[in-house]
Amino acid sequence: MNATNALPAKQSQRITKTSLLQFLLRGRAFIALILVVIWFTWTLWPNFLSAENVVIMSKHVAQNALLAIGMTFVILTGGIDLSVGSLVGLTAMISGMLINEGIAIPAIGLIVYPHTWTILVISIIIATFMGAVNGFIITRFNVAPFIATLGMMYVARGFAGLLNNGYTFANLVGRPELSNTGFPKLGAGEFLGINYSIWLMVIFAVVAWFITTRTPFGRHVYAIGGNERSAELSGVRIKRTKVFVYMISGFCCAFVGLIIASQLVAAHPATGNTFELNAIAAVVLGGTSLAGGRGSIGGTLIGAFVIGVLGDGLVMSNVSSFWQMVIKGMVIVLAVIIDQVQARMQERIALQQQQELR
């Protein structure tokens, strides 16, 4: 880093120019976000940026962003998690069942109604455990992540349906005498005028950013995605780390499932259907490589916002849902193409720096 400073002024100027272009390419998702916001603000004036609308959009974004944060860990290791949508549904159904029907213990003919907080914790533990099962199948039995989580996608969705024979658990308000009230607060509650789900997104993003950039675990995640063999020979515990990333993904699913069930005050077994695809799209749009090893939480967050804002903006512009899909699809592919261009350019810049060193 000192070498760059030591270079003659002319050279460092050239570096500044290329690094500006690099900065623009790197920040492309952010630039795309700004453009999308400007476009919709202009065409939908003044409704798009109304406080009400911003809150609604952020709520939509928050759910996808939470899933995408968990997915980022998985994809950074070079894996994929297709089960997140189903795990969202399963968590929603479990929380609904615990509130409305409690836990029946036939042996003593008793039904236990857990406290609301306990319900949250149980739901989270189950989803995280399902993530651990994913990781376990992938690492111990050497099953491709795509297949293992595809299996989990069906299994979890099936269980979600089985919990109430395919019916919805409605009116999840609990009963004061069972001290299991207050569940809807999670979805509707606010702190400093901002919905809890948005706070959760912020907290998760900060913690995840911290983990990925500042902890050995995060570094190991990147190393596994970059070159698993090298990582292993460097002493990284591959299996343990991999199981952990799927657990993180499951953990994130649990929160989204709870938030949705709470917002709707009902749990439907099809909750979260195809959410995994939106989460993957956000991760990829944010510049994370599906091959693993490259990407960031910040990118994922921006990716989630681009997808969310684009989706809501198009709905408000009365664009047909079919065109919405076409546009979303094109944006995702375009993002990956630009990603390739940037990667090649970055390589060239590094080469140039190295050449100047000689």
């Binding site: 760059t4 500042r214 990147y222 020979l233 590094a350 720096q353 190295q354 100047e356």
Partner: protein, 535 residues
């Protein structure tokens, strides 16, 4: 042998200038972090064997890849029979009649011999279906011409490495080639297979095919070659007719200076026993042993050389010590304490660390920066409770870059932008930061330039002085002899010789490495890969 005599005769009888079939003019190729070829002009003579030699990383393979259309030159021109051609890919090269046999096997193991030979050039029946009969017949003829008993329908993965190489050659012959590039074709062949190959080469020559031949085996290329071109550090050093030169000429041109000057070995005192290994065994799937009950001791401050032919089990031995082979068994004591852990991470913690043979596959994380690669194995050291402290990381990286003089503009740049030698130093730095007691270096000088080699030796020597136990593997006899305090020779997984620095000679090492192979100790100047099968 009579053919060889005939060959020498014929090249002596050529008085006038041979015609140039292919000419590469002022070829330059820049890779991230390194100039692989620097303004090289190279003639390929019609109907001759044009040999290319040079050390690892001299640019031979790059030049071949450019001629075969695999890589594009950064600048320069290629002329085929006087006309400039542009070969943008292998298909175009083969349309011009240029065929290549790669050093790395490029066969699809899941397809049959016939399918591989005609891959992407399938013989078609009425333009829609593959004419399996015709393909099989032609393939059988090719294999017969190569004097091999290979079933054309056999799946390639079922063949021995040597046989696979023959299939590779048959694949090139199946196209009507005018220029055939062979990149180390004999590295996996047995002695008899090499003879067959040479007969085929002579036959091709008589049909006017020009051959470009790359090999590390200097005796061999003097035997088969007509012209020898030496490359060093991406530059063309000299071209000569084989008749006018000998092995020592080639070595001198290849190394460019007295080879001994490469090795900077400082005297160091050897301490107590640091590592004791007893009955280390790695079973071979399907019976037998890859590492066969190996026992030895390593002292503090000692450089222990491990020599052996390809497949002798050297790498498997150090991999087992590093904990990378869970199937291995045996006992290890470090400083008298038994090491019971079996995982890589735990072995690293107890002080045994490996710099693996293949740095691209096992040593580096290509997506990470130079700094992150250096730190990867020792992250726990930079922790402040839960998080990594930037300053500690930076200090460690900076210290290593200075200590090992890693040439990098900025530690945050991608590891792929560094030259091979500097990448290797990064892998060494990563190992050193784990504060090891025993450092195992598996072929640390493979594919890096002369300067970097010399620096790696310097580092090794310094580490020994500081009291590390160093295990050093190399296929290059000269390196092993120059650097080691003691040399163990492996053959077929077992130790077949142990020599002190004073006793060791090239002849003794080669003889010991051949035990169990049933071949006489034919000294191989480069100490290169053995013609025997590698299992």
């Amino acid at each position: 042998m009579s053919e060889q005599a005939a060959l020498t005769q014929s090249s002596e009888m050529d008085t006038g200038a041979d015609t140039v079939a292919l000419r590469a003019e002022n070829i330059t190729k820049v890779f991230p972090g390194t100039i692989a070829l620097d303004n090289v002009s190279f003639n390929v003579y019609q109907g001759k064997v044009n040999v290319l030699v040079g050390e690892n990383g001299a640019g031979k393979s790059t030049l071949m890849k450019i001629l075969a259309g695999v890589e594009q030159p950064s600048s320069g021109h290629i002329f085929l029979e006087g006309k400039e051609i542009h070969v943008r890919n292998i298909q175009e090269a083969s349309r011009h009649g240029i065929g290549i046999i790669f050093q790395e096997m490029t066969l699809c193991p899941n397809l049959s011999v016939v399918e591989n030979i005609y891959l992407a050039r399938e013989v078609m029946l009425r333009g829609v279906m593959i004419d399996k009969k015709a393909q099989k017949k032609q393939a059988a003829e090719l294999v017969t011409r190569l004097e091999q008993k290979i079933d054309p329908d056999a799946q390639v993965s079922e063949l021995r490495i040597g046989q696979q190489q023959i299939v590779e050659i048959a694949k090139a012959l199946a196209q009507e080639v005018r220029i055939l590039i062979m990149d180390e074709p004999t590295s996996a062949l047995s002695a008899t297979e090499v003879e067959v190959l040479f007969r085929v080469i002579n036959e091709l020559k008589s049909r006017g095919v020009s051959i470009i031949y790359i090999s590390h085996k200097l005796d061999e290329l003097l035997q088969i070659g007509d012209y020898v071109t030496v490359l060093r550090d991406g530059k063309l050093v000299e071209t000569a007719r084989t008749a006018d030169i000998d092995v020592s000429w080639i070595i001198e041109k290849m190394v460019g200076k007295n080879p001994a000057a490469l090795f900077s070995r400082q005297e160091h005192t050897i301490g107590d026993v640091l590592l004791r290994v007893k009955d280390l065994t790695l079973p071979k799937p399907g019976g037998g042993y890859i590492v066969d009950h190996v026992s030895f001791e390593l002292h503090a401050g000692e450089i222990l050389g491990l020599y052996g032919l390809m497949g002798a089990g050297r790498s498997d031995l150090v991999d087992s010590l590093a904990g990378a082979r869970p199937q291995s068994s045996g006992s290890i004591w470090l400083n008298g304490e038994p090491i019971l852990t079996r995982k890589v991470s735990e072995r690293i913690q107890s002080g045994i660390v490996l710099v693996p043979e293949d740095r691209q596959r096992d040593g580096l994380v290509q997506t990470m920066s130079v700094a992150d690669n250096i730190l990867l194995a020792s992250l726990k050291k930079y922790l402040n409770r839960f998080f990594l402290v930037r300053k500690k990381e930076k200090d460690a990286v900076g210290g290593m870059i200075k200590d090992l003089s890693i040439r990098v503009a900025n530690p945050s740049q991608p590891i792929t932008s560094l030259s091979g030698g500097n990448q290797q130093k990064v892998v060494v730095a990563k190992a050193l930061l784990t504060s090891p007691k025993v450092l195992m270096l598996d072929e640390p000088t493979r594919g890096i330039d002369v300067g970097a080699k010399s620096e790696i030796f310097e580092i090794m020597s310094r580490l020994a002085q500081e009291g590390y136990g160093v295990i050093f593997i190399s296929t290059e006899l000269k390196e092993v002899l120059a650097m080691s305090d003691r040399i163990l020779v492996l053959s077929k997984g077992a130790i077949t010789g142990e020599f002190s620095r004073q006793e060791a000679t090239e002849e003794k090492l080669v003889a010991a490495s051949a035990i169990g192979h049933g071949l006489a100790g034919t000294a191989n100047h480069n100490g290169g890969t053995n013609p025997n099968e590698r299992n």
